[in-house]
Amino acid sequence: MGEHTIHSILDMFLLLMEYSFPNSEYSHDVNEFPQLFGQTTFNQYCLAIHVLDNNNMFTIREVEEMINKPNEEYVE
């Protein structure tokens, strides 16, 4: 099976998933999210994602340090 055929099948599969699950993670649009609400800034969002990625294992002090000294690891 050629590479072109595989890509075509993959595209069809993605279209099918989008049609079948209009409100689920399968229809995730990278341009649409994240949507930040209230006073939330993008840096705060990046830090929150960083904390979540580490299974909420940072202490109050560690997070405070990260807020005061932003690290390239999580701030884009």
């Binding site: 995730h28 929150a48 109050i60």
Partner: protein
């Protein structure tokens, strides 16, 4: 307690990360415990972790639910501030039926209202692990991109 949850929701940060998922956090809340007779000042060394909570939208048959990682609703029967940030409103059905005033006065008597309460409690038990039930109107509201 519910009033406190509603009031503190304003301190939370919120971001929608997918169509049916949000994250809520508050990195400025003072949660460090105070210890009595802490002469050596070891209390400051006590580790307290910052949490980012995930809220997801669950659909079961025609009913929609919002479930938060903190499991406050599962423990206490009232929605947490993380869910209230998103809904921005408290509706009757978001509070477990056991907290309703009518439950204490009419549950178990031979009235029609008692039968309704028993039926509602049964439905609630069937959906116990799904989270806070929300109305179709609330669902439409939170799905729109500008709810806040």
């Amino acid at each position: 307690m519910l009033n406190q949850m509603y009031d503190t929701r304003c301190d939370e940060n919120c971001a929608r990360v997918a169509t049916d998922a949000w994250i809520v956090w508050n990195f400025h809340k003072d949660t460090q415990p105070k210890f009595d007779n802490d002469v050596l000042g070891l209390g400051v060394m006590f580790p307290v972790f910052r949490n980012v909570y995930r809220i997801s939208l669950i659909k079961k048959n025609t009913q929609q639910f919002m479930k938060c990682d903190c499991l406050h609703y599962e423990r206490n029967g009232i929605p947490c501030q993380h869910i209230l940030v998103i809904t921005n409103k408290i509706e009757d059905n978001m509070v477990k039926i056991q907290h309703w005033k009518v439950y204490g006065t009419h549950f178990g008597d031979n009235s029609e209202i008692s039968a309704k309460l028993m039926e509602a409690r049964s439905i609630q038990q069937n959906n116990e692990s799904n989270g806070v039930p929300i109305t179709p109107a609330m669902f439409t509201k939170i799905m729109s991109p500008i709810f806040g």
